[in-house]
């Protein structure tokens, strides 16, 4: 979504919330105890899983001028536990970005 909060000939302020679903193949190392000749042996088994790993909600606000743009965002991760992962906690972080655009066409 892209909401223009303020727009003049010199600058624009936009709110661009996004939701990303990240689905990936991951290699998982699982350690399990097996018995060989009645002896307990810890064995590492590598498994591949293709599943939803994370849902990320980002709510960035950007201020753009002709060449500069500034963005401040609040990001929330909702990780999805796969295989034997325990329930994962929601995480979040803030982001700041400063950009400058050089127009080489003029």
């Amino acid at each position: 979504m892209n909401f223009t909060l303020k727009r003049t000939s010199n600058f624009a302020v936009r709110l661009r919330p996004t939701v990303d679903f990240i689905i990936a193949k991951q290699s998982l190392a699982i350690e399990k105890i097996i018995f060989i000749n009645r002896q307990r042996i810890l064995e590492t088994v590598n498994l591949n899983v293709f599943d939803l790993l994370n849902t990320q909600v980002s709510i960035p606000v950007s201020l753009s001028t002709k060449s500069w743009d500034f963005e401040f965002g609040n990001n929330l991760n909702l990780p999805n536990a796969v295989l034997k992962e325990r329930k994962l906690k929601t995480t979040g972080f803030f982001s700041l970005s400063v950009g400058y655009l050089f127009d080489l066409h003029r």
Binding site: N2, N75, P79, E85, V98, L101
Partner: protein, 174 residues
């Protein structure tokens, strides 16, 4: 016991292909000028975009790796109206050693479909150069396809990536 080894770095707040048209909007957002440019130059463009992003914490696939640390992502990108784009980027972690994890070089081709430009796509290739010599996932082929409404207020993009090196993986982001 259970461990997870994410093949992908922490969510990188880089400019991506979905933002390219927004960048163009920002460049030409004075509509009168936009129309003039459109007539005079058939809306050709040629620009460099530089940015630096700071994220106050780092998570891998949304998961807390047990280290509270910020990361910084500088980026320089080039966009041409032919559709060609290229960028160099990387990521710096506060606590990991080496702090500079990798440098990446990307090449891409971006275009729109239809008169109303409601469909956009980008095909890209990225090469990762890890500071510590890690060779698991050092290449990425990405395809993005997006659709948006006429006023560009709503849209969605699907990106499929195949990453490979000594190991291989794939990812879909909706």
């Amino acid at each position: 016991m259970f461990t997870i080894t994410p093949p992908f770095c922490a969510y990188a707040k880089e400019r991506n292909i979905a933002d390219i048209d927004d960048l163009l909007d920002e460049l030409y957002f004075n509509e009168q000028k936009f129309l003039d440019e459109l007539i005079e130059s058939d809306f050709s463009y040629n620009f460099l975009y530089t940015s630096i992003s700071y994220n106050n914490n780092t998570y891998f696939s949304g998961r807390d790796a047990g280290t509270n640390q910020f990361n910084i992502i500088p980026q320089v990108s080039y966009y041409h109206s032919s559709g060609f784009n290229a960028s160099i980027s990387g990521i710096y972690y506060q606590e990991f050693l080496p702090n500079w994890d990798f440098t990446s070089l990307s090449l891409g081709y971006f275009n729109t479909i239809g008169e109303k430009k409601m469909f956009v796509y980008n095909l890209g290739y990225t090469k990762y150069f890890y500071t510590d010599g890690y060779d698991g996932f050092t290449n990425s082929i990405d395809f993005s396809f997006g659709v948006r409404n006429k006023k560009r207020g709503f849209g969605t993009t699907i990106t499929a990536s195949y990453v490979f090196g000594a190991d291989e993986s794939y990812q879909i982001v909706l």
